[in-house]
Amino acid sequence: MKKKLSTIFAVTGLLMFSNACTDLKEKVLDETLTAKLSEEETVNGLLAPTYALLPNLFQHTTYFALQEISTDEAILPYRGGTDWGDNGIYIALHGHNTTSTDPNVNNTWNQLVQSISRCITAIEGLKSATSPNTALYTAEARGMRAYYNMVMLDLFGIAFVKDDPGTTSKIIRGDEAVKYIESEFLAVEPVLQPKSVVGPGRLNQAAVWSLLARLNLNAAVYRNIYGATFDFKAEDMDKVIQYTDKVINSGQAKLSADYFAIFGNSNHTNEEIIFAVDQRAELNGHNRMAYFSISGDQFPLAEFPAANGTDGPGITSDFYQTWVQAYGAVDPSRDPRFYQQNMSIYSNAADTCVADADYKINRGILRGQQYGALRVNGAFLRCPDGKLKVGKLSYVTRNRADLPVSFSEMIDFTTAGSNYNTGYRVEKYEFSNKSNTGRNRGEADIVIARLADIYLMRAEAKLRKSNDAAGALADVNLVRASRTKTLAPPALTTMNLDLLFRERGFEFYWEMLRRPDMIRFGKYEGKWTEKTNTDVKKRIFPIPQTAIDGASNLPGYLKQNDGY
């Protein structure tokens, strides 16, 4: 009996035991390596990620901050001692004192290296694809890898050469990097499609020509990043002229008669845009370009009383003065690029009631007292006829109803200069109509390259190559004269590098071109509001400390940039 029992229990135990045996092979339930995608889904699935991080890269705190707040175009003080302190990183960025632990530098770097990697993954994956789009998609992925490397070279002074995902990237700098990026663009150029086929959101023929022009224009800087002067070679300038000519002659883009339409919510179809980040409110769009600068007490949308600005950066008074000096006795708003008034209350104080559909805040550079929808306890006031009530804004949300939302020219890091209302603000991009919080759901495409830049690059190459002031002046005035929706800016009569630099500021302010422009024109070591650092080593940013630490097991592989 006892023996039987033992046997029964032993057998039962063994059964349980065998039940429990396992090879410990991990079962993955929520991810796969073998998704059954159609050929089209497969290739689309490979190409889309190569572009997908662009909205993140073109954020207010990442690429925008690095390209603009480091220059005379934008400054972001510790607002009122309560906002945008961020451990001093914006103050450091403006004063060229950024450190390798700066989170925005790190975030920008991460978007770039990951995007480069996604391009490599796409190129590799497309090798076995049979879709008719394979060749085009491969060219786009390869071209985008070159583009991200070009941004990497511009910001950090290095580029990564990597074809086989299983190998370690080769890190290159200077001339080698310029040559590599150029050869990559040239390799894909014949395969790419015109903008009319793929749209401005993807790398197209005109886009790659634009980028080639930009690369060659800056090549002298990239080859000798810390140089006291740059050697703009004639052959480089010829290439700039060659590629800008190609864009202009291709007819793939046309100058926009309405300057601010280039930055409007429906700018995807604006003909001036050559290459842009295609933003969709329902997918990837952010509204940070429109949100960042305006006041937290500005509520630009009748539909969303929670959508506001944040009192971020303003323009420096130095930059403002370039407008003033250019226009002399005339107010700079004479220039249609400077300002667009959308609310009549600014000129007619009695217009205090606005239909919801007509309610739009002004665009361009905003100065002085701001008007807008009046918000009380989280809801907008209404006129008796149901229209939106607009009026003078004050800092209600900051518990300072006594302080008007009146932007001052003065902005700096002093207490007075750091108040919520200091600095003239920029509302270049239109505030997205779908942005319920003001932060996300952006609609406007973010411009990477547009035709005006092509003309101005050509003008610059003409000046730098042979001091062809007449040719340069013709290009600049062509762009000026094209803004015909309102009174176009007056034609200039002379042209030189300084005037061209000033013109680039007027045309491209806050379009993330200022830092390379200042370096190329030798202005980056100059002095402006709260910026005195003249160290040429600060032309490029530090490689993030985390990346340096991560590479510490390969001595000498990833070297920190000098001066950091």
Partner: protein, 1029 residues
């Protein structure tokens, strides 16, 4: 002569104890005890039976040994020899008891039990007229814990035979008060164990580390094993403590395995210590029914001292601020906090026969939080059953625990942050009694009204463990358990017109199923010279976790809560409502063995080996071996020690290796997902549908393996003066290696930015000294007292990290974004504060910071290590006095050597804030030289001492004389008590509480010691009654 059978006693009313039973009774008992007989078996009495039957009253007296003073409050239970017709009584102030209407010539069994004393029984007492008042029982104080049974994992051992560092805590020693989860029962009670109950929220999380954190990531939590079932440490949904499913009143004992020689039996999960929880079991004999009920009244212990209305006006005016005077004087903290009540009811039944014992309980606790709208209701039911079969060769044990927890929480940080800063001259309600609305502030009452999170968790833990005695000494045991929890959480934001809010409902579902099958053999051999215990087993565990979440926006304003009708939502878009979720399976397979050998009861050796495999590890690293060795020498048993004052002196030494496999699943495999999301997809044409982007979610590391922790322990156990003074000293050194970390690859161009790896060479070293001391004494007059305490000195440091600094602890609050507070740096402790050093104000009253590198610019490069969040000293002391029916116990605990970062003050309390009409504490105004324009960046200015001493609990109890009250027929024992919880706190810290730890981790790197709008702790008074039937 002693009857030395060991049994556990459940007194129900009086707290529970596991004691050795000795019967040393009065005249009669001595005669009776002459023939030792196994308990529970009837036997012949030596005395001849009496001739005449009549009713008499049996009286007797209980005293303590060495004193003639009667001992009041002793539970005396009388029954007939078959255990029926049970009656109970309690001794009165003079130690006497009585039972009326007993029959002479009948045989009775009597049992005497009292907390802190060895239980005694008087079996087969033949009542005669002459001996009806003859019983005098001398209760002996329970000897030192030498023979105490300690649960060691896959078995138990007596304390004297243990060679590792193990601390056993019985229910009588637990912390008292409102207890949410088992860790709180042992806070301060075990040296080397740091328990931080970081929040005063009902059901909130507790941080616990044994002998210091051994990892950088989150996952330094010890392994919890409940009745042999190893729990999964991941959460069970929401932000609540996953262990709050256990009813503290069901817990018999908690054993903490501290050193590697003890934890190695749990292999790859032992590195952070193991906590074994044993629930109560029934005892054969008559049924014991107990009821306990309590009412707790809680208030916020230390509200922050923000300015009152008049002070606010006066101070703001001094700063030249333009502020709105709302003409009221509102204490906003009073408005959002409340006097909270907690009801607790618990009924248990335990008992059984020879073959079968059972314990069943039902508990209900309704706990209000001191913040309005925060509440936790918990219902627990437990059934433990044990049945012996086939001549006791087979034992079947069943455990079943079912818990339903409902946790409700408001927007805690929103409400507290707003209450601390809102203008105190504003009134909370308008003239119509409605919640007032303000332009510049959100009324915290509105915040509380508009948002809630509701979490309902159902958790069932069931196990069956049959064991078979194959031959004498050899037992085979199967342990099969399942732990299943399902949780649903709703987060609801109501729509409103003012302020405009469209409303949102989020729903989260979590399922966690943990299945365990273990088979093991235990062999026991005991001879005069040798003792051997051997264990060999196999274990398989499978943990399945699934989470899903959905949301919907835009609800009409109505009295229907979105929770009850999500279909009312009108906006569902990919941008705002992308569903999410994940599912993982983790499997563990282990082979383990242990051998303990004792020679002459003096020389003890233990060796353990566990081979653990986990599906989380790569194929070339599937299995790891975790050995340990330890030895003990009971010096007190040596002949040369016979005349020493040491009743116990044991030297222990051990070394072992354990692992930590608490890393995310799937990291050995690169996988991709194909999804339409903002960061994976992109419009490839002008259309409005977007292709799914295929991206790698992570890099593979097929070589990943567990972290290894090697620990050396040297200990000394001692007992002096017959055990009156006892204690333990332990030195330990724990070195964690092969640190698992999510790192950035050398080549930054990778599909994912990081990958998991074992960082070579990096070490985290914890070393320290633990000291436990206990003393107890009884005075001639019957007053008994005990004093105890422990202290831990611990030092933690990171070594050989290839990283300059691993940042953690992201600061929160306006203007503080992107600043980090903690840093992991070589040579410094985990959780060190790495900050700019505040050195005062410049001539303009603006903050100055030390320019460490002297380059004229103060930035991140000028940060310094400014202290650690980990205490270097933890201590506890407690005292207990009892006299007549009364008992009083107090329990203090404290920490020292640590700092706390007051992020609440950093983001709210500075002069500039007041000048903007934001309320502050007087701390903000204490530097007259500070400019009203000075901003407050993250720096040592807000780093404060975190040392404290807390009167954790104070209990005053009285055991009623049920006989005297005439209720002893129905109620055998009755005890009333008042407990004060968190009655006093001594600290320099001026936030809500220095025991704080807001999770501000960055990329899974644990943050430490940060206080940001934490839920404050309560001061609670609890009135309890315990009845035994």
């Amino acid at each position: 002569m002693r009857n030395t059978s060991t049994l556990s006693v459940r007194t129900g009313i009086i707290r529970n104890c596991l004691m050795q039973v000795t019967a040393v009774c009065g005249l009669h008992a001595i005669a009776a005890a002459a023939i030792p007989v196994p308990e529970g078996q009837p036997r012949k009495h030596v005395e001849t039976s009496m001739n005449k039957l009549q009713e008499v009253t049996l009286t007797g007296k209980v005293t303590t040994e060495g004193s003639s003073e009667g001992l009041p409050g002793v539970t005396v239970v009388i029954s007939d020899v078959s255990g029926n017709n049970k009656q109970g009584a309690t001794t009165n102030e003079s130690g006497s008891f009585s039972f009326a209407n007993l029959q002479t010539g009948q045989r009775y069994n009597l049992e005497f039990s009292y907390i802190g004393f060895e239980k005694q029984s008087l079996k087969d007492f033949l009542l005669t007229e002459s001996n009806a008042s003859s019983i005098v029982v001398k209760l002996k104080e329970a000897a030192s814990n030498l023979s105490e049974v300690v649960v060691v994992g896959y078995g138990s051992a007596t304390k004297k035979d243990i060679t590792g560092s193990v601390k056993s805590l019985k229910s009588a020693e637990f912390n008292q008060g409102i207890i949410n989860s088992p860790e709180q029962l042992l806070q301060g009670k075990v040296s080397g164990v740091n328990i931080t109950s970081a929040t005063g929220e009902p059901g909130g999380k507790t941080n616990i580390t044994v002998r210091g954190p051994g990892g950088v990531r989150t996952g330094s939590t010890p392994l919890f094993v409940v009745d042999g079932m190893a729990l999964d440490n991941s959460g069970t949904g929401g932000d609540t403590n996953p262990l709050n499913f256990l009813n503290p009143q069901d817990i018999e004992s908690i054993d903490v395995l501290k050193d590697a020689s003890a934890t190695a039996i749990y292999g790859a999960r032992g590195a952070n210590g193991v906590i074994l929880i044993t629930t109560k079991k029934g005892k054969s004999g008559t049924a014991q029914v107990t009821y306990s009920g309590s009412l707790g009244i809680s208030n916020v212990a230390r509200p922050l001292d923000v300015l009152s209305g008049p002070e606010f006006l006066a101070e703001a005016t001094k700063l030249g601020a333009t502020i709105t005077d709302g003409k009221a004087n509102t204490d906003w903290q009073k408005e959002i906090f409340r006097t909270a009540t907690t009801h607790n009811h618990n009924v248990s039944v335990g008992g059984g026969s020879d073959k079968m014992t059972y314990y069943a309980s039902f508990g209900a606790q309704k706990q209000q939080g001191i913040l309005k709208n925060s509440q936790q209701n918990r219902y627990t039911g437990r059934m433990n059953l044990s049945q012996k079969l086939f001549d006791d060769r087979v034992t079947l044990d069943f455990n079943l625990n079912a818990t339903n927890t409902k946790n409700q929480r408001p927007n805690i940080q929103g409400a507290i942050g707003s209450a601390l800063t809102i203008n105190p001259t504003y009134a909370p309600y308008d003239a119509n009694g409605q919640i007032a609305q303000y332009q510049d502030f959100t009324n915290p009452l509105f915040t509380l009204q508009q948002y809630k999170e509701e979490l309902t968790t159902n958790r069932v833990l069931a196990s069956i463990s049959p064991s078979v005695k194959i031959i004498d000494g050899l037992i085979y045991k199967l342990n099969f358990g399942i732990d299943n929890s399902t949780a649903t959480q709703d987060k609801q934001l109501l729509p409103s017109t003012i302020p405009a809010e469209i409303g949102r409902l989020e729903n989260y579902g979590l399922r966690n199923t943990n299945r365990l099958i273990e088979n093991y053999l235990t062999y026991n051999l005991n001879t005069k010279m040798h003792s051997l215990t051997a264990l060999l087993g196999h274990s398989y565990q499978r943990i399945f976790i699934q989470s899903r979440n959905f949301s919907i926006n835009k609800f009409p304003i109505s009295d229907i809560e979105p929770i009850y009708n999500p279909g009312l939502g009108q906006d569902l878009s990919l941008a705002l409502n992308q569903p999410g979720g994940f599912a993982t399976i983790n499997e563990l397979q282990s082979f383990f063995g242990r051998a303990s050998y004792g020679f002459k009861d003096r020389y003890l050796l233990t060796a353990t080996l566990r081979i653990d495999g986990s599906s989380k590890f790569g194929s070339n690293n599937k299995y790891g071996s975790f050995p340990s060795f330890s030895a003990g020498w009971r010096i007190s048993e040596e002949p040369f020690m016979k005349s020493s004052p040491f009743s116990e002196l044991k030297l222990r030494a051990g070394w072992g290796s354990t692992g930590n496999q608490e890393i995310p699943s799937k990291i050995t495999q690169a996988r991709f997902t194909s999804v339409v999301s903002g960061t994976a997809s992109y419009p490839l044409d002008g259309g409005t549908t977007y292709p799914a982007g295929t991206t790698y979610t992570r890099l593979a590391n097929p070589n990943i393996q567990w972290e290894v922790s090697k620990q050396t322990d040297l200990g000394l156990d001692f007992g002096l003066f017959k055990g009156a003074l006892s204690g333990e000293i332990d030195y330990f050194r724990k070195v964690s290696e092969k640190m698992l970390l999510e790192v950035i690859p050398a080549d930054p161009v990778q599909p994912a930015g990081t990958f998991w790896t074992n960082v070579p060479d990096m070490q985290i070293i914890n070393q320290g000294l633990e000291l436990d001391l206990n003393y107890r004494n009884t005075l001639e007059n019957g007053l008994r007292y005990s004093l105890g305490g422990n202290i831990t000195f611990i030092k933690n440091r990171v070594e050989h990290s290839p990283y300059t600094v691993i940042p953690s602890g992201s600061a929160q609050g306006s203007g503080l974004t992107s600043a980090t507070i903690n840093g992991y740096i070589n040579g410094e402790a985990i959780g060190s504060f790495y900050l700019k050093e505040f050195i005062g104000f410049d001539e303009k009253g603006i903050s100055k910071f030390r320019d460490v590198d002297g380059n004229g610019i103060v930035n991140d490069a000028d940060r310094v290590v400014a202290g650690t969040a980990l205490p270097t000293r933890m201590y506890n002391f407690n005292g207990n006095v009892s006299f007549k029916g009364f008992d009083l116990s107090a329990n203090f605990n404290g920490v020292a050597g640590n700092k706390v970062y007051d992020n609440t003050a950093n983001s709210n309390f500075y002069k500039l804030k007041l000048s903007k009409g934001v309320n502050v504490t007087p701390e903000a105004l204490e530097s007259p030289e500070e400019s009203v324009n000075n901003s407050a960046g993250v720096s040592t200015r807000y780093l404060k001492s975190g040392a404290y001493l807390r009167l954790n609990n104070l209990v005053l109890g009285y055991n009623l004389n049920t006989a005297k009250l005439g209720i002893s027929r129905w109620v055998q024992t009755a005890r009333i008590s008042v407990t004060g919880q968190n009655l006093a706190l001594w600290t320099k810290y001026n936030g809500y509480d220095p025991e704080v730890n807001n999770d501000r981790s960055i990329a899974g790197i644990t943050s430490y010691g940060i206080d940001y709008l934490s839920y404050p702790k309560a001061k609670t008074v609890i009135f309890s009654i315990n009845l035994g039937f």
